[in-house]
Subunit: 120 residues, 2 copies
DNA sequence: CGGAATCCACGGCGATACTG
DNA sequence: CAGTATCGCCGTGGATTCCG
């Protein structure tokens, strides 16, 4: 049995708690963000897009996202193997907010570091 | 001594990374959410609103949020002591995001509960 | 190519006790 | 009332190796 994000009943009322558990990991936001931008990405492409994520974490995070029905994993039984990841409908519902967050983050970065504001 | 792979600064400037670091803690989202609802809350009120947070974590999280200029700490030098927390302007900019996240989370909870009744 | 498996370091976080 | 301080667990995530 897979241990996916479990939610203590007493806190469910918040919804924020729940949402953060599903997208609040260290990398989930970025993965969702890039999937939202590129529509569909292969494992290797994700790995290259997010070079600081180890294969373990990438796989693990993708599994959790898939488990939570936020992304779709499409596997081709070929040689060489090929796996494509894309957002599910539920995942797409998050994009406006992640985009909002992205803009907010960029704005904060520029505001706080007047210096080397290397563009996104 | 092994050199820990440094993260090129050019990578995670996507803003999402930054934003998640700011609000991605275990409790930050909920604290911001409740501050957004109640406008202003005292330390004890926050503690009662979020009973599962220890004083240590509450204080620590509030400090980080204050450090990040997301909330404002207003202290009254009285006896007994009194401290009020509220959202800063920057913090308020996040509310649309958190609010929608809240709605999304609630919706997911409902969908999930009527969905696969795989009792856990 | 796209993982899975293992080992391990770190720090987030909880529990508890104390303070101004 | 509103914190601080200390100890320590354990989950998160990193590095590395192996597999279909």
């Amino acid at each position: 049995m897979k241990k996916k994000s479990e939610i203590p009943e007493c806190i469910q009322k918040c919804g924020v708690e729940y949402a953060f558990k599903r997208i609040g990991g260290k990398y989930k936001g970025r993965i969702l963000w890039h999937l939202g931008l590129q529509k569909v990405l292969r494992y290797g492409e994700l790995s290259r897009t997010l070079p600081d994520i180890t294969t373990k974490m990438l796989t693990q995070t993708l599994r959790e996202l898939e488990d939570d029905k936020l992304i779709i994993r499409k596997m081709y039984h070929e040689v060489p193997p090929k796996v494509e990841y894309s957002l599910s409908d539920t995942g797409w519902e998050l994009m406006p907010f992640i985009e909002h967050l992205h803009n907010w983050g960029k704005k904060q970065l520029e505001t706080e570091s007047v210096g080397p504001a290397a563009g996104s």
